[in-house]
Symmetry: C4
Subunit: 229 residues, 4 copies
């Protein structure tokens, strides 16, 4: 994969890169048996937003929630796994060369996305994840994502630290982002947030679902919806 | 239902919970004879955003407007019942246990949603609802929703008080929300507002509806549209 | 129509009202021979946002642009008439009674919408329209819409003045709006703006339109797109 | 084309203009063999937002990304060429006459769009493009786009300078934009940004893509998605 990254990078710095790798988890995993509502039946679309800097790159892609059918008589779908905003870091191993094999991921939850999009020009946020939380391996590996404004207010440092207490290893990724790049993140995250929450289902745009002739409606019933307990 | 909540909670705090209950009103009610444009013909989607805190939880879900066919010759649909943002509160009855049976709801209107999304870091909003407004039972039960910024500007207290003057009961739900959680609410509410207003019908994205060959158009007619009275 | 307004109002102040009238222009006009891409083939949807105050009401609804087929060999559609944000004012003629027959309209252009959504808590905007602009009747009738923040910064006065120099008449509509109502306008206008500009066509969401197998692409060509003159 | 511009302009300054020309690149080019997901199978839609001022006009239209099928077994699409926000400048050659033949283009990348939408009322941004970057002709032609706030904070000057070192030519386009026009740009750019990034594919709105009955899901697998390396 490293070889491929090089050739892609040398071809054009302006074209989208690595899209074929960042979502390989979803693509190649066969053990994952629930389904994602990907929005198009013909396959997946890979359109990460990637920021390449001197020591590392970070590539960002929304991950949609998955749904399961409800057991009840009424049918319907409910969220099975929440969506997230996936950040994938790669270390630089030369000028404009990034090593995909050494990538590390960090999945922002909707609330963590809310934290990021509400950051001011002088704020900082830190998030801690433990992949083995609530298991006997808790504490073996920990990840910390830190987003910290530069003193001058002209951008942010995004840092990922992955500590493996078993292997005694510690990996660091530092990607400085400009105000413009952060504005892209804020705008794109705000756009994506309702989608990773699963709220984009809530639309009136499929009138085909409307059938029949509504009978007279008791206005009182409507008014009482809030009080139905 | 309480039992179910427990098992869900113990399984994973990260997955979406209670989605199967929060919309049961729409699902089980058979007396409600108008129809909702749910956006998907195969059933409902349950994707509430829930905030769990020590004394209570609040789960938030948009409710789409319903439409009725117009009687006129020209056809078309008009809004019959406005959409809302439904807040459902449950009291905590133990560590990470919330009692669905004691839930209370509060439905924010579009204008109340507007009030919430325009709140600054030091503002407060209060909304009063009377389920029996304009009936002989007016004043028997009243609900007050209060959203108040913490003194430090680092979040808000969302409180629901339900007073029943007949039963002489008074219920209180207090859910402190962080700045990050409130940012999720603001972003998700801003996304959902046009949908609960019914404005998401107004889209150009169905070119299949365009047919025939437009004849010559009198530009004056266009210009005068504002003046057609 | 007045009668209908009364009965609707007395039934419930909370339900959407008057939707059947506000778009009657589009509905009843048969001389208008271009077509609107209404987004649903089965008819129109009426979902105005209406603010009722003591002396007048204002009801707001987006109007989509219309498109015409292009004459060229390549097909495609171009905007024929721009969309707008239609404001319809009705005077109050009693407690919670508004006279639809005396309504006056004002259509905000996309740039005027931009002006409104960029207003701060202490700003004012004025727009002047002349329905007979560029004709021999220019100056006979003029309309002025004024949006002015209250001194306290806690809302705005929206005023429409229609002056008819032929009939020597002068009509005034004043609707005070709260900060919450203005937040609804800002959010809904921001949502609607790309739609009335016709930009909501520009979406990647119809993969069915993708066919065939792309041949090798000369990267240079892509890079030069900006330079094709 | 100039003739057409004149007649269009004389007919109505309020209708959308020039839409048939601004995207001619995509329309007439036959050498461009990749495909755009235009979102409607029946053809293209031309809906530029144009600002006409005394010395020049600027017309703005989003350009969607193009996608290619992935070679892998899993199918799917990846971004082949990123989308952009295309600015097309025309010089004024008389009162309300603009010369389409002398147009110059500048394509804002997603990050440059982020820079623009994060500009405050007193900020300035500059972007430099070289159409021959990374080729032997690098430096022959250069383009500079400058967006600079007026001292009073009541608008911006948008300037494009095209320098051709071979022809020893230098072209300048200056378009002053009001605060209202810039608000339209900010709102429309924020709307369009996820689309030109290709993120609008990421939607849950096609439930038809969901099939089959999900088997039992191992919750641990979900939790570990972030850790799949």
């Amino acid at each position: 994969m490293l070889k491929q990254c090089r050739s892609l990078l040398s071809r054009s710095l302006k074209s989208a890169k690595w899209g074929d790798g960042f979502e390989s988890r979803a693509a190649f995993s066969t053990s994952l048996q629930d389904f994602a509502a990907t929005g198009n039946a013909n396959g997946r679309v890979f359109a990460p937003y990637t920021i390449y800097k001197g020591k590392a790159s970070v590539s960002i892609s929304p991950v949609l929630p998955t749904f399961v059918k409800m057991d009840s008589d009424i049918g319907g779908l409910k969220v099975n796994r929440r969506g997230s905003m996936m950040l994938t870091f790669c270390p630089a191993i030369g000028e404009r060369k990034y090593d995909w094999e050494q990538r590390q991921k960090f999945a922002l939850s909707p609330t963590e996305v809310g934290s990021l999009i509400s950051m001011g020009a002088h704020d900082a946020s830190e998030f801690y994840h433990d992949p083995s939380m609530q298991s006997s391996n808790a504490g073996q590996v920990s990840k910390k994502l830190c987003i910290k404004a530069f003193d001058g207010g002209n951008g942010y440092m995004i840092s990922l630290t992955v500590t493996n207490n078993v292997l005694k290893s510690n990996e660091n990724f530092n990607v400085p982002v400009t105000t413009a790049e952060f504005a892209v993140l804020k705008t794109a995250f705000s756009f994506a947030l309702p989608h990773i929450m699963g709220w984009d289902w809530l639309t009136n745009q499929s009138p085909k679902g409307i059938k029949g002739s509504p009978s007279k409606v008791n206005p009182k019933q409507h008014f009482d919806l809030e009080w139905d307990r």
